[in-house]
Symmetry: D2
Subunit: 417 residues, 4 copies
């Protein structure tokens, strides 16, 4: 067992309980009505997240490791399997919002049933079991972020723009010029170093050659993005990738997701409700295509994932973690690279693919990351919606180039010399 895994496992059942409880805390502000809706095919209803994370423990921990475990409901295997072909067919993803049954109450019963069994029926000395539990906890943490993301999308596209939690309003951002920090490049190593939990897609650690490069020491702000908009950014095809231009016109993009005009001014829906743009906060909810176009407009480019990881690993990183309670892009700063974690995910220029020598987890769990290694872009860092402790320099998030509902922002990069 790795060192970090060992730390986690010192009191694995307690940590399991804490993760599980956190998921439910995130749902507290919801009305029962909010649990079932699926405002687009990419998002899932909160109820589904609650059940699917539970199904994960039932399927990959309880069934194989707890002889006395009794499955809660035979139909749930079909309903709450996301995409694991190795354990059976799946209810179609775009139809998750049509499932008024099982009810929210029954899904909470399901959680309680599985939690009780995790407590009673397992031998936590088994190394494989422990690693499965840790994987399930990390899996649930990923879904905690998706939960918040999907809730925001549901509420934020509702004509009433209802508040999720009014206590989540941001502190005002502070104006600060961006500085480009130079890194020497050369033959570097990236990938998980072997200490602590890691997903299979972060391995193996391997060598990469980098030319000298520079990264901005903070994220692009709403104010900078407004300049891009006012300079005709959304109307200038030469700034865009071909598919990006097509996507922008098809969807009518003219601002980040959740921005709206009121009396001639730009406002933004946040989890605390709508309000005027804060020009000093990082811009959020832009697609890769918009990030890429912005960078081109700014005479810069997006970082590669190797550059990003090298920068995040090799420098004292100051003030990077938001407190994890304000579920919105916060503002943090320092002397060196800032806002690497806890504000927005950062689009990179790197397509998501296997590292050299990549081996997925054996068996069905190998479907977790590996089978998505085509047509998606890597994001690095972590957002205000990412559970604290779930981020690290080698972490690889990935979404499609047109996706905007994630907490995704922009850091600029430049060639040097």
């Amino acid at each position: 067992m790795s060192e970090a895994a060992a730390n986690l496992a010192d009191d694995l059942p307690a940590q399991y309980a804490a993760v599980r409880k956190q998921t439910e805390l995130l749902c507290r502000p919801l009305a029962v009505d909010d649990y079932g809706v699926q405002p687009m095919a990419d998002a899932s209803p909160p109820k589904w997240h609650l059940a699917h994370t539970t199904w994960f423990f039932e399927t990959f921990v309880l069934k194989p490791f707890a002889d006395r475990y009794r499955v809660f409901d035979d139909s749930f295997g079909f309903l709450f399997n996301s995409y694991y072909d190795g354990v059976g067919d799946q209810y179609p993803r775009p139809m998750r919002g049509l499932l008024s049954r099982p009810t929210v109450d029954r899904v909470f019963d399901y959680r309680a049933h599985v939690d009780a069994a995790m407590d009673k029926h397992l031998d936590y000395d088994d190394e494989t079991l422990r690693s499965r539990v840790v994987l399930g906890m990390n899996h649930e943490q990923q879904h905690q972020e998706l939960l918040v993301t999907d809730i925001k999308y549901n509420l934020g596209t509702n004509p009433l723009r209802p508040t999720y939690d009014s206590k989540l309003h941001d502190a005002p951002g502070k104006e600060r010029p961006a500085t480009f920090v130079t890194f020497p490049g050369g033959l570097v190593e990236i990938g998980a170093a072997g200490a602590g939990f890691m997903f299979d897609n972060e391995t193996p650690r391997h060598k990469v050659w980098l030319s000298e490069f520079a990264l901005a020491d903070r994220l692009v702000t709403c104010g900078e993005y407004l300049e891009f908009m006012r300079d005709g950014g959304y109307r200038t095809p030469s700034l865009w990738l071909s598919e990006g231009w097509t996507a922008a016109r098809r969807h009518g993009w003219n601002a980040p997701l959740y921005w709206y005009r009121q009396d001639g001014e730009w406002f933004e829906y946040r989890l605390a409700g709508g309000g005027p743009i804060d020009t000093n906060l990082p811009v959020c909810h832009v697609s890769f295509f918009e990030a890429d176009a912005f960078a081109r407009w700014a005479g810069a480019r997006l970082p590669t994932e190797a550059e990003w990881e090298t920068a995040a690993s090799s420098r004292a990183v100051t003030g990077n973690f938001s407190d994890g309670r304000r579920l919105h892009p916060g503002s943090s700063q320092g002397d060196g690279m800032t806002q690497l974690f806890g504000d927005t995910w950062e689009w990179t220029a790197s397509a998501y693919g296997p590292y050299p020598g990549f081996r997925p987890l054996p068996g069905t769990l190998g479907e977790y990351n590996g089978k998505f290694m085509a047509n998606q872009m890597v994001l690095r860092g972590g957002s205000c919606a990412t559970p604290p402790g779930h981020v690290r320099p080698s972490y690889r998030n990935f979404f499609y180039a047109p996706d905007r509902w994630q907490f995704s922002g922009i850091r600029l990069a430049r060639d040097v010399g």
Copy 2:
């Protein structure tokens, strides 16, 4: 005021209250989870039905007739207007299932607010107001049937096939051969005769020439429909209209909606839950295309709406009304024409269009029926889900030829001589 309208209006507030209460009673078996889902674009969430019927009274009665009325929520005009262009834009129909807000609780508050205002702020001596209230009540009764229809679609297409109300199971059907009853035809009159409430599309009463014709004295049964299926009905293009054949293949139809195979036998989902087919009950949930193909297979045809209305008007009709509590095709019989009302709506061979001399209601309410007079087929009678008292021989229901989620069945007709 017409006589029947006068009857209704004797105690219009009480009747209003009864209709409103009945809508809410139909929702009693629902979980909060069930109120918001929209399993297909044609269906609406129960919450939406509850709010829209309320909006109808707010918009067409309270706003124009009650000076002191305060609108409950300004945004509801946009959210719960179905299709009345004359009073403003509408939230897109296929997205009704995405509205987790307003919540069910708030929608019930809306109903209470409007109901209180209907009680307090109106002068029921105003003739125009009274006719608007009666129209609103009939409108709400139509939505009571749609509510049941849409609930059945939601639950019936859920993989768990949950029960809506277990008390609604049907009495077993009784075997009885169908007889064709002959009608002499000639110059007849159809259309609303002027007594009692009527929709504008039932007027004006007008002459139609009919050749001698015959109608079956009962509906086609599940057993007869099974014969059609076993004889290859769904695999024989010569039985089908061209568009019907295309629809059947595109959607993979091989049985009525809600039928499913289990261990080699056919079962049917009903509001009381799934169970084996009762071969003596009327077949239900077939499209016009299936009804038409069945009739061709049987060497018969569907009745025209003029034939149907003539038959329903000119004969002693025995045992036609189900008791209104069993929300499923019942079985009723007698000596003459039976099952005309209260079992299933009956597809006719008539396209829905204006009667000669038709004039829609003036103003926005003229959009109620008139603007749909293209590309739909007329259904006559009334189903087990139709509120008792809401049916009459001149009533014209209309749906698209491929629609199957209504309680729609088949009565055969034949030319004579």
Copy 3:
């Protein structure tokens, strides 16, 4: 044999040859490039029309009646069967424009092969054969109109707007006010009377009750339609059927098909090329939805098919036939009802369905008309593109309500009393 059929059959082979030659004459102005394109799924390439009409004779005349006939190419049965399920599968209609093979040359060879066989191998004394040949000739005449219609659509939507035949320019229209002619109604008979060729869908002749009605004595002009446009006709939902309004917005309709703006004026593409609108010519290439909206705007309505046929049958009809050479809405006038035939097809208010007692032709040929009796609207009369001699008062043409590429126009009707 009916009298008219007998007339035709006096020299059936010669008449066959004349019809076949006429089809080819219509193709003379085409480049080889024009024969293969299919600018939308509803249209077919000229090459396909040439081959399909030939396949019709091969399939329904030569194969059953000419023992010694050798099929030209086995694959053509699949490629050129339009929709007759009774004789086998069909190449998908929307893909007809993808068939670069067989070439135009080979399709003309096919025609020659079949024409030679029709000349050599048949015994024209056989009554059934004669009626099949006559049906095939009428079938080919229908395709002559479709050929012109589809060629116009191809050329008229090409950015270069090429000329089909510059000799086809219209004589200028003459201004003339429209008059409404009153018809007494009562119990009338419509349907083919039994003399001359008729399609099965025109039978049986049957009684219909009509209230007194009035029809305009000429078609709606481009000038009148321009008034509708300038009065906001395309922006006023209350004028439209619900589906019409949706179609108009989805397709961006703001004028008839082939109209275009140039330097602030309206122009129209015609087979002779583009030119300014002639306000006195009948408006053409409007959908049923536009015809219906125009009529509502004009305080009138569309005629039913029974009204139209009654008017066309019961009156001296003056100047109704265009000379058949100008393939464009001409202008003809007289004292009574004018422009009934030879200018534009006229949308009626009647959905296309079976007449009471309708029996389709036996066998596969019963698919000719009967299986389309749903969701289409009847058009009456005949256009400048209809072969002379192919029109009669009982003729029922039918297209979908949104279709605009046919030569379809508007005649107004009114209730009387």
Copy 4:
């Protein structure tokens, strides 16, 4: 000017003429009917290729460099601009097959007009002009391959499967076991080295770190692919990327494009016509998804583009060039790496993106390659349809992961140690 460019430019007008003539030679086997069809949105009609390549010279050479040049037809700028936003709007790509005009004859006139002007009006001493002409020639060579590819798709999906050129039949393949050749890796350089013509996307040459790797010395054969099929390759989700599995099911893939079953055996359509599979020839017309799944099934993987280029650059490559006349995967072999060029394009594991430090060409020509750097995969090598002389180790071809109509095949790679 680079050395190779200089070689080319020694007699640039003659080389221009040769390239232009070769395009037309490729069209010789076509009927006029074949020039206009567009069997899918990704393909273009031959007529369009002929005109677009001509438009390229007119737009980027004649207009800016030949004062006296008179544009052939003003409308062609709109019709034959593929995707250069910098020079104006474009006719929609999926509608190219609807353009029956301009005719083939007129397009050849266009070619002659431009060719004459290229001969008369230019000063070939101008360095910029020379490089534009060379770019245009390379552009036209790319379209020569697309021309063949699109012709094959048109003829190969026609139910008649017509022959393009019967002289193009392949010599039988020879059975030969594949050997994996090991490469040491380390810090290598890839990208165009500076001699000869290169596209901007091949630059700048840059360092990449490679672990030791092995590549198969020949392409995967049809016989090996048949084993994959017979082993259930198309039915085993664990072999596929998630999007690949979805694509395979949506499109019903169960064999490479152009394979078909006849009497229980697999046949393949080739440009010389259909025939039985030759199990010793390289498999062709597979998507990236199929190539990736095959490699996983074989216990191998696809090469990265850096590995491929390193192997192709660092070894004596024997027998790699087919003679360029047989427009079909040939078979060539030797002692080392074989079939690198002239048989099939080889899917790599690398997403198409910018090289570190990449700068697109200035101005509108920068749209040539750069704006497609998202969501596509790199292919390396060159196929039997690639013009001889148009291939080199640094050449980067790119297509979408599901594309199959290119001449695309598979080479396996493996990690070492």
